[in-house]
Amino acid sequence: MEITARGLWTMIHGMGFGALYLLACSGAIVELWRRYSPATHLPVSGEDETFLRIYLAVMTLLAWITVLTGAYVIYPWYRAAAPPGTVNLSGYPQRLLMSSPSTIGWHSIGMEWKEHVAWLVPISITMATVVFIKYGRNLRNHPRLRTAVVGFTLVSFLAAGIAGFFGAMLNKHAPVEGGRTIHLMRGE
């Protein structure tokens, strides 16, 4: 059982940071919606507030790490130009996808959307985190601020979902592979 260094990085980016962000996002949305609604009578303790502050800060960190590893580690491998005359395009995922009419859409729509929409995630969640850190339970007294925080967090969830979906599909049709081979386990 082997994995290449590039394959491992892609997995860490998508199944590690990205998937963890998506999982965390649903929890944050429920918590912000339920506990900080002006209509709710659920008590919010100082501990609850501190927990959500740390939770959102970790999500923000995850969002930034995900887009930065995506744009500066994996994307350069994805878009690497193949030397003229290259027949085997497996080391050049973008060129491989563009070489066939049945896969070109995964690049021209999938990757083109993913590479930009993903950046809405850290922008949105950074804002939501900073506003929550500042206002905390006082968001109940500012229902419109809370609406915006929940709205931006929802859009970050949607944008991360789009990026994650296309990331998985792109990697299925043209995996980012190469670099050192890492032996994980010996099979029977």
Partner: protein, 116 residues
């Protein structure tokens, strides 16, 4: 019945103006919209595309996102400085920010971005 300490906290919380939150929300909307509009511009114009090529292995995406992030943080700092102690018309600010965010989501989708 509120304890004296709870009453003090509630009083302090109620007095917190919405300006700081509004600054963060509006600047995030602007930042998101900048990502989408700069990406669209770089796609349409060869000169902007080459201008946005800050880091060659990543290509124009590096310039588009770096520029948008720097402007976003700059706008946020200015708005925070001007609004932090004020109460601003939050309904309008939130409506504008959410509209910008929704437009960003749409404009980054290539078939929509290509219409312009």
């Amino acid at each position: 019945m509120m304890s004296k300490q709870q009453a003090v906290v509630a009083e302090r919380d109620d007095a917190m103006p919405n300006g700081s939150g509004a600054a963060a929300i509006l600047s995030a909307g602007i930042g998101a919209f900048l990502v989408a509009s700069l990406a669209m511009l770089a796609d349409k114009s060869a000169s902007i595309k080459s201008m946005m090529n800050f880091y060659k292995p990543t290509g124009p995406l590096s310039g588009v996102t770096t520029t948008a992030i720097l402007v976003w943080l700059g706008v946020w700092a200015v708005l925070e400085f001007r609004w932090r102690a004020r109460a601003v018309p939050i309904g309008r600010v939130v409506a504008v920010a959410l509209t910008l965010l929704a437009l960003s989501l749409l404009l980054t989708f290539p078939p929509v971005g290509d219409l312009f």
